[in-house]
Symmetry: D2
Subunit: 153 residues, 4 copies
């Protein structure tokens, strides 16, 4: 398997990410699901329902940010050593267009992977009748907690 | 009533904010409730439950960000003209400490209110056994959509 | 001429940008020069000298941010109407690698152009002996001041 | 001496910061000078001159950001162990008002100091005829490079 961003991940890495995702109660509560899992690239999809809306009836930026944050976190995690966990240091998102559509897909993409810190680009697309529109773009800093397995304390 | 940040708001403004908040399906879904509504300052509280967790069992940053975003948005909205609505342009949060506790409280605080753009400081506190800890701090830019009432299109 | 991002700009737009850039005393003081001017894409280059250094002898993040901010601002400005000026609302940069090299090049790239607000991606590359390295990546929000020509008040 | 934010610093810490600042060629080039040095709080002042201007004749956001970045960096550095250096991971600034006046003063203020990462609030004030106006507000993440003295490699 290649080492470049976007290459397939080992089964063990995919397993660790799926298990970690399944422990994120919020993702299930939002109806979000892992979609793409590749080296340095993870996406999460979340179908619309009224429980995810803001005051005008579109997706709330908070839900979009939640899946963007998780997508970026797991994108970074695909490149971390085995006994480690990932925490978000900070993130920033710009909301570009009303997030209306049938499904949101958040994509996290590693821009720079370091021993301690990793930086991701975040993008959120809204899908409507098969067409995609970029509705949010962001940037995120992650920290690798080496030697601290990704399980509840 | 005073015009300074933190002064009481008129009943009409409080009514508009409560109605708008009640239209945010996501806030109900997260179990979040409006707490403080003052001129340029709004806070939202969200009790812990496992549906809000990340992989280590604490509050997920996405939920914390969602209530911070809404708190800042409504803090700005208290200062907007009557026929207008508020949209988040962008926000950035730093996650300072694990968000563990019984309740999260997000506080939005207007730093600069302009005709078109408003900037807020965002703070999220975790409460545990009566003590509060700052777990996230952020900054947010809002835009006032003048002449566009805050109702679904 | 095409309308897509990266297409050539009209001579009049290039002239307005060069004149505006020449009024930015800071750019001359930093030894920075306009390089690429295309629709929605502007780059600025700044050769190293010790007056631009931070404490370890590399380019100071402040200088890198200054040319990134201007590059993004003018990238947005290529798409603005004739009687208008551009102001930066906010920007965020992540410093990915030590900014060491012979020259820094900052590239601003429009991600979303709106009537009032425009969002750019910012990238800063350090060049050393012909090879380029990404040393900073950022995101910027601009506002179009319609009807306010880009000249001193 | 107290340990709280804002308490006086030991002479040794002040000496290290002044030496480090003096190695920042950019600060001298911008005409910037250290002003306040306290535990977790550092400010830098920069008088206006046309070499610092943007296209409308005010302070360029790049210069304001440069001194804000350094002020925050040294604010964090006051709390770091002796054999260490400080690097900026990322920062974000909102430009609130035109930066016009006789002097800019940037204040960095530690919000959370950790073993690896430190978060600062950044504020930039413009002074005109004795009155101060907040012209920019920001947030910054620093990393402590333990065991790596703050000198050129």
């Amino acid at each position: 398997m290649g080492n470049e961003i976007g290459a397939p991940v080992e089964a063990e890495i995919e397993r660790r990410i799926r298990e970690s995702f399944d422990r994120q109660g919020l993702m299930a509560h939002l109806g979000a699901a892992l979609h793409v899992i590749r080296r340095g690239v993870v996406s999460i999809r979340m179908p619309f329902r009224s429980e995810l809306s803001q005051q005008h009836g579109y997706f709330h930026a908070g839900g979009a940010s939640a899946i963007a944050d998780s997508a970026g976190g797991y994108a970074g995690y695909t490149l971390f050593p085995q006994q480690s966990s990932v925490l978000t240091v900070e993130f920033k998102v710009n909301l570009l267009n009303p997030a209306k559509g049938d499904v949101l897909e958040a994509v996290g993409h590693v821009v720079k992977s370091g021993r301690t810190l990793t930086v991701c680009r975040l993008e959120v697309f809204a899908e409507s009748a098969g067409s995609q529109m970029l509705v949010a773009t962001g940037q995120q800093t992650l920290i690798c907690m080496a030697g601290r397995p990704d399980v509840p304390a």
